[in-house]
Structures are given as structure tokens and as C-alpha cells.
Symmetry: C2
Subunit: 138 residues, 2 copies
DNA sequence: GCAATTCCTACTAAATTAGTATATAATACT
DNA sequence: AGTATTATATACTAATTTAGTAGGAATTGC
């Protein structure tokens, strides 16, 4: 499990995007405002678009907009989209680490998944709208 | 935030260690039983010892034992000891990423810390004893 | 003294992170 | 029609971190 700049920057960018409800915002606009690396955010936005969190209009005067309402986009969702394999247990990474797994009856794997499930549930209670309100208040 | 083999292996090793209440268990014994890399677990155990989770006796017939009762050792504690900087926000890593931080009023940082705090609280509700009971049941 | 153990530091290959670079495609405006 | 502005796409890279390994020193039981 990890939570990196991918999630951090995505959230900041999406909050900024959510500020304009009916209009488009370009990567350039968002990243200038939030002081974020454009090309990096571009990549994150492509992933978020693929999962219909946002949508876009190409060309001049183009940009992005929220496709899903800010209430329905959660931190958990964002994290799962932009991070690598956030809830993966080591023995599922299928590499060398499999050597150190209890192959026959991996009770621990169930434990980790239960824990991840609870964290996931928690992260899904935090919507983009919640975050926006919180940020605005200060 | 990350949760890696360091935490995974530590938990498996500590659960095994907690099975023998009054006697010592060596790294060798634990790692053979749990199929874990000895030298790696050794490193983890040294960190756990430094924080008084476990204690040790050197020399032949030596080994480790739980210094803190299994009830009081939590997953959160273990994670904080063995992982690198589990709850660090990108702008605190003090490297290049600082460039992309909202220096003046980093409202987001507070948000991340609040979220981490809640995850931490949750992880601290899971004790080694809980885990042991759970693993034994199956 | 020898074997088994913990203690300690340093090293390393592979993977991942945190980006950058470069080019193509679409669209608005003139 | 041409240009500027935007998204789309793929590939590349330096730095860091993970997931260990290696080799030895110090300690203790027998």
C-alpha cells in the first residue's frame, strides 16, 4: 500500500478543477495555480479520464472538467486510479517475494486484505467535495 | 505512506515469537517456521528491539522474546518502527518535491496528516494478540 | 575452545517514483 | 489557410527505495 505524490497532486489538481463548475480548465491553468509539474499531472489526468472521473475537450480553448460530481469522487477512488497497485500484498506481486509466502494456507493474506478493505472504506468516505469545503474554509 | 514486506514479515515473525511465552526463540527458528529471509528479519528485529517491542539474549541458546505484552503491541506501532517514514507528506520529504508544495499556506498538509492520523488510530486497534487469535482460528 | 546466537555495517540488484522529452492530433481564432 | 493552444501518447531518465545479501565482530552455553 502506498500514497504518493500521484494521489497528492491529483487531489490538488482535481480540487482546483472542481472550482469551475461549468467551464473548462486546462492543465496549464491548474498547474500554474497549484504550482504542479504539468507533464506529470497530464499523465495523472489521462488515467482519471480513462476511469471517467474527468472528461476533456481537445484543441485551443480546450481543457478538462469533472465528469463525475465532486460528491461522488472519493479519495479512495482517486488513489486506486493513480497509484500503482495500492492494495497489493507482497505475495501477490508475483515476483521473488513469492518465495517468502506461506503458500499452502496464507492466512495473513486475508488479514491484509481485510485491513486494506477497512482503509479503503475510510478513504471512500472522503469526497472531493469534503476536501474542497475543508480547503476553502481556511 | 507505505506498507511493505517490512511490516508484513515483522508481523509474521512477531506472531511466531509470541507463541512461546516464557522461552526464547531464535531468528533461525522463527524464519524457518515462517519461511522468511533470516538476515532481513534480523534487521527488522533490531529496530523492534530498539523500541522495546522485543528483547534479546545473546550467545548460544540465546534468542528473542516479547518485551511488551502482545495485547499492547499494535500493527500501527510495528509499522511505524519498521517502515521508512510511513506518514510523511511529500512536501516534508525535503527534497526536490518541495518545489511543488504550496509553501505559504499548505492546507493540504493538514488534511493528509488528519487522514494519516485516522489510519494510524485504526491500525492501533489491531493488536498482535488480535492477529494471533485470528491466525490460530483457521 | 567451539558452536550457536545476537549485533552491526556495508553492499547490491531490481523496482518504483517523480518526473522530463518529444512528437502527434484536435480545435479555436485570425 | 495558418498559427497558437490545447489534449493525447509513448518513451526516457535520475534519484530513491525496496528487498534483500555478505561478512564479520561480540556474546554466551556447553
Amino acid at each position: 500500500m502506498q500514497l504518493t505524490t500521484k494521489t497528492e497532486y491529483s487531489v490538488r489538481a482535481l480540487v482546483t478543477l472542481s472550482e469551475s463548475v461549468d467551464s473548462l480548465k486546462s492543465i496549464n491553468e491548474i498547474c500554474t495555480k497549484q504550482n504542479l509539474p504539468k507533464k506529470y499531472v497530464e499523465q495523472l489526468f489521462r488515467k482519471l479520464k480513462k476511469q471517467s472521473v474527468i472528461a476533456s475537450v481537445s484543441g485551443s480553448k480546450g481543457g478538462y472538467y469533472l465528469k463525475t460530481p465532486a460528491k461522488e469522487i472519493t479519495l479512495g477512488t482517486i488513489m486506486e486510479i493513480v497509484e500503482n497497485h495500492p492494495y497489493e500484498v507482497s505475495c501477490e506481486r508475483n515476483s521473488v517475494e513469492l518465495e517468502y509466502c506461506q503458500v499452502e494456507n496464507c492466512q495473513y493474506r486475508h488479514l491484509w486484505h481485510e485491513i486494506y478493505g477497512n482503509i479503503k472504506d475510510y478513504l471512500n468516505t472522503i469526497s472531493l467535495e469534503n476536501i474542497k469545503e475543508r480547503i476553502d474554509k481556511e
